[in-house]
């Protein structure tokens, strides 16, 4: 279970998260919604340990383990996966190489031997089929020259191969057409299981038509202003965020 307690985060002098508390029990999918600048992406980045954010108070634990004490790569080893809003292009680093290195890093942490080359390719091909990705993606540089939709699919592909305990998807739906959105949603749904948690950060309700959340939270000025079930997302779609902001004021 992911447990965030009274989290306070600043970027420079700017306070972005102001006492955010949230519990995501294992097996559940929670959506984090909110207006621009409410701190959604900050939350996603802080969970993954991105530098540049100062945690000034509060705690984050995953199954009792203190995430804030861990380096980004150690969090990944503990099963945290961040799906980036803007996946980074890394020309010269092969996609398949990264996948394999990432999988082996996770296996090493669990005391498992390196993955067998044949098993690995079988696994990757299977997941790529699910994500409707062409095999040529494998030999290309990481996200190099990928379209927006291809980058997002690649994020989900990595997630499916790594099978994280906690997946944090930061606006994975942004910039996707409806077909790509369905493919990405299908990928996320495949990963849903009683031993995994998913945090979906999204601006729009659209994705939640395909990935049905157990809970929806609205973030306003760095705090959860309102929580509810999937109907809250529909209400936000209809009424916008203003009423929640006013309530929070």
């Amino acid at each position: 279970m992911l447990k965030i307690d009274n989290l306070q985060v600043a970027v420079g002098d700017n306070k972005v998260l102001n006492g955010l508390s949230l519990e995501v029990p294992t097996g559940e999918v929670h959506a984090i919604m909110g207006p621009n600048g409410s701190g959604k992406s900050t939350l996603a980045h802080v969970l993954a340990g991105r530098p540049g954010y100062t945690v000034t108070g509060g705690s984050i634990t995953l199954d009792g383990k203190d995430l804030l004490a861990l380096e980004p790569e150690e969090r990944a080893h503990e099963g945290v996966f961040l799906g980036f809003q803007y996946p980074v292009e890394i020309p010269g680093v092969n996609n398949v190489y990264l996948l394999k290195a990432a999988l082996n890093a996770a296996r090493k942490h669990r005391g498992l031997p390196e993955v067998d080359a044949f098993e690995f390719l079988t696994l990757v091909r299977e997941k790529m089929q699910l994500m409707k990705m062409d095999e040529s993606f494998l030999s290309r540089g990481v996200n190099e020259g990928f379209s927006g939709g291809e980058k997002k699919r690649n994020e989900i592909l990595q997630m499916l191969v790594l099978e994280p305990k906690l997946a944090v998807l930061d606006e994975t739906d942004s910039g996707l057409d409806i077909d790509a959105l369905k493919v990405v949603a299908n990928g996320v749904n495949t990963l849903r299981s009683p031993d995994r948690s998913v945090v979906l950060v999204t601006h729009y309700q659209r994705l939640l038509d395909y990935v049905i959340p157990d809970h929806v939270h609205v973030l306003v000025r760095g705090k959860i202003a309102r929580s509810g079930d999937k109907t809250l997302a529909l209400e936000l779609e209809k009424r916008g965020y203003d009423w929640v902001i006013e309530e929070a004021a």
Binding site: E73, P87, V88, I90, G92, A101, A102, A105
Partner: protein, 480 residues
């Protein structure tokens, strides 16, 4: 002939203490006959070794030209990154072979391809070499060529049949700086002369390995290569520079390349000399009509390495690729000056450099393209990128263009900076450990250039060396 007579031909005006000493060493060395090696190299050629007058005249001409121009100083704009001070301690005459350490093939990098020529302190070592059997390819030791030519009654043309450097240095169309090549011409006693006949197809044709063993105070090493490729041939040449032992070698290399019409050449150069070595290098190339020449240089070794590259595009539609990768660590200095001169119309240049400076090293690449009047339709691109990987490291990448005609397309880009934090975080977030992630990113940075090496075995060796080098100079953490 006495020493005084020899020097009389070389007026040491305007002599700096350094050039005066060079002239004095030259005179002393040439006071008698050609200096002879007292070792196995002689086994190759048992003919009486005559020092032909023509050869001597040519050396003196080179020395005179060097005296006239003087050696560069750090005040010269194009030499400001090079540490020229070690020159003061060098003995410029080649070492006598007598004190040479015993070496076997196991001391050399694994051979790529079948034919390999090993030169120790600039002189061919037949016992370590495996001659080529490829049809249309003739490789000759220049030392032997000189004797042959004399025997055949043909005027010997200096160190082998190599193009005289003095001629090239006076060539107005090549506004180059060949001063170190002149020094090579004055002192080199051997070298590889390679001639590839018309229509020959030999992808990994010849591998040259230049091994430096001598301490610079005891004598200098002068690798010399003359590479002539006739029309329609397609060849690959591998040229390596290494050290044996840990002495502070002084190496001064001169290579000239001529590519005839419709010929295509891949030239791989790997500089992996020792941690105390001083390496100077001058490469000149001339391309005829529709000729294609790609030179790939990988700089890893030496305390101080300077490469000066001049390419003349003399023929219409000729095409040159100058690809360089340089990884410096500790207190290394790697400096390259690469000039491409577009003389003929519709020729193309592709210049690409990737340098990583770690520790307290300095890595510089100065890429200049001159488009002369009449060279319309020139198409050139420059992509020069440097990566700063140490707190006290220095990167200098400089693209320069001089255009004297209309109707040209010249692109250039230059960047110098640190590794991208976003890329690093992306890899870490996928569980890669920091060390692996940094190495991978540096790797990726060099990949643009390294991926152009078309010989798989050579590429594998270079990648292994790069990996080793980068591991050592991973002072990057301090910056991130």
């Amino acid at each position: 002939m006495s020493a005084s007579q020899a020097t009389s031909k070389v007026a040491a005006t305007p002599a700096s203490p350094l050039t005066a000493r060079i002239a004095a060493e030259f005179a002393a060395a040439h006071a008698g006959s050609e200096p002879q090696r007292q070792d196995g190299a002689q086994a190759l050629d048992t003919r009486p070794r005559v020092a032909p007058q023509a050869l001597r005249a040519r050396r003196e001409a080179a020395l005179q030209a060097l005296m006239d121009s003087g050696l560069p100083t750090s005040r010269d704009e194009n030499w400001k990154y090079v540490n020229l001070r070690p020159l003061e301690k060098v003995r410029f005459v080649p070492p006598s072979g007598a004190a040479r350490p015993a070496m076997t093939a196991a001391d050399l990098p694994a051979a790529v391809g079948k034919s390999r020529y090993v030169f120790v302190d600039g002189v061919l070592e037949p016992s370590l070499s495996s001659p080529t059997t490829a049809a249309g390819v003739v490789v000759t030791s220049m030392k032997v060529t000189a004797a042959h030519s004399t025997a055949a009654g043909v005027a010997a043309s200096g160190v082998g049949g190599a193009t005289p450097i003095v001629g090239a240095a006076n060539d107005d169309a090549l506004p180059g700086d060949l001063r170190f090549a002149l020094l090579n011409e004055a002192f080199a006693t051997d070298g590889a002369q390679i001639h590839v006949a018309r229509g020959t197809d030999c992808a990994i044709c010849v591998e040259l390995v230049f091994v430096a063993t001598a301490e610079g105070k005891a004598g200098a090493s002068y690798p010399r290569v003359s590479f002539k490729v006739d029309a329609n041939a397609r060849v690959g040449l591998i040229e390596r520079h290494i050290s044996f032992g840990s002495d502070a070698n002084f190496i001064n290399c001169a290579v000239d390349v001529e590519v005839a019409r419709d010929a295509s050449v891949q030239h791989y150069r790997v500089q992996q000399t020792g941690a105390r070595a001083i390496w100077f290098d001058t490469l000149t190339a001339k391309l005829a009509e529709n000729a294609r020449y790609q030179v790939h240089t990988v700089n890893l070794g030496a305390l101080s390495a300077r490469s000066t590259v001049y390419v003349k595009l003399l023929g219409e539609r000729s095409e040159v690729g100058v690809f360089g990768a340089s990884v410096g660590g500790k207190n290394q200095v790697h400096d390259t000056f690469a000039l491409v001169d577009h003389i003929a119309p519709n020729a193309r240049t592709n210049q690409s450099f990737r340098g990583i400076a770690g520790g307290r090293s300095r890595v510089a690449f100065n890429g200049k393209i001159v488009v002369r009047k009449g060279a319309h339709g020139t198409d050139s691109s420059q992509s020069l990128r440097g990566l700063l990987a140490g707190t006290d490291a220095e990167i200098d990448v400089r693209p320069q263009l001089e255009i004297y005609t209309d109707d040209v397309r010249c692109n250039h880009g230059a960047t110098a900076g640190k590794l991208d934090d976003n890329m690093l975080f992306y890899l870490l977030s996928r569980g890669l450990d920091r060390e692996t992630a940094l190495r991978l990113l540096k790797w990726a940075f060099l990949e643009d250039v390294v991926s152009k090496i078309e010989v798989p075995e050579l590429r594998r060796q270079i990648e292994a060396s790069l990996a080793g080098q980068m591991n050592e100079s991973a002072a990057l953490k301090e910056l991130l």
